[in-house]
């Protein structure tokens, strides 16, 4: 699973708003690590989500879901998403995105069975996104 992206922050009211574009690739790497292998007889769907995790002065831990997708049993399990924009606004609770070098993006998923336990799994591989020290007011998203 691989992700890469570009980003910039824009001021909005009083909280930092981050803009991130990303690619997500989920493919067969060694015959075992693709999403298809997670769909066993008791899996109804996977709820995939890309979340950004970081620390700020105000808050020791922040997690924001940027994008999510429902993958039903039978859907194409290969993901080749390019230049995706985040589905949800990436607002910080304050101004902690400016100059933040340590924002980590991770892809995780919730396995929804036909019946039984609901586990949350984190994908291997994550990407760090450094946010610039200045605000952008002109770039369009």
């Amino acid at each position: 699973l691989r992700k890469n992206l570009e980003d910039f922050t824009g001021p909005r009211e009083r909280s930092d708003l981050g803009f991130v574009t990303f690619d997500i690739t989920a493919d067969i790497l060694d015959g075992k690590s693709d999403l298809q292998s997670i769909f066993d007889w008791n899996v109804k769907q996977l709820f995939l989500y890309l979340s950004a995790e970081y620390s700020t002065k105000n808050n020791a831990l922040n997690q924001v879901v940027l994008w999510d997708k429902v993958m039903l049993r039978g859907d194409n399990p290969k993901l080749f998403l390019k230049d995706m924009k985040s589905k949800y606004f990436f607002f910080d609770d304050g101004n902690g995105l400016k100059g933040n070098r340590n924002v980590t993006l991770t892809l995780s998923w919730n396995v929804v069975p036909n019946a039984g336990i609901l586990p949350l799994v984190t994908g291997s591989g994550h990407v760090s996104v450094p946010f610039p020290d200045t605000y952008e007011t002109t770039k369009s998203y």
Binding site: K44, Q45, F47, Y49, S51, N58, N59, A60, L61, N62, Q63, V64, V65, D68, V70, L72, Y88, D93, S108, N110, V112, P113, N114, A115, G116, I117, L118, L120
Partner: protein, 163 residues
């Protein structure tokens, strides 16, 4: 003979109560089993599905988790997914939720002026589920005659049943 049947009935009721209370202690939740009432989490959960919850304080609230919460002053619990969290050094946390099947997050559902949920609003975290079974509760709620019929037959069964 009647004495025996009354005792028998009493035993069944108190056993059920003990199991329920025991579940409450083990899971740490005041409502360890809930029925999904709306379609806002489809296609994962549908109306009538049964959810098993835990509410252990040690479990941190993280994005992606399915939480059952109550909005202050309202009785009906809501089952949605955590979209954002902001947690302070001391463990104080505020978070935002959204139903998978809803286009927008839950801010519109919260109390006027409330922008975030806190630990105290949480009834539990969904750890497991069984589909369809809870439909009986919904039916009993929507059609009181059905509820009386179920209770009537249950009572009849207990009284008539001979060891």
């Amino acid at each position: 003979q009647l004495y025996y049947q009354v005792l028998n009935f009493g035993m069944i009721v108190s056993s059920a109560l003990m199991i329920w209370k025991g579940l409450m202690v083990v899971t740490g939740s005041e409502s360890p089993i809930v029925v999904v009432l709306s379609g806002s989490m489809e296609p994962a959960f549908h109306r009538g599905d049964l959810l098993f919850l835990t509410n252990r304080i040690e479990d941190p609230i993280r994005v992606g988790e399915i939480v059952v919460f109550r909005i202050e002053g309202r009785e009906i619990p809501i089952v949605h997914r955590v979209l954002k969290i902001h947690e302070k050094q001391n463990g104080e946390i505020k978070f935002l939720t959204k139903g998978d099947n809803n286009a927008v997050d839950d801010r519109g559902l919260y109390k006027r002026g409330q922008h975030w949920l806190e630990k105290k609003d949480v009834v539990g975290r969904a750890r497991g589920f069984v589909p369809y079974i809870g439909i009986v509760t919904i039916l009993m709620n929507d059609y009181p005659k059905f509820k009386y019929a179920v209770l009537f037959f249950l009572g009849l069964f207990v009284l008539v049943h001979r060891e």
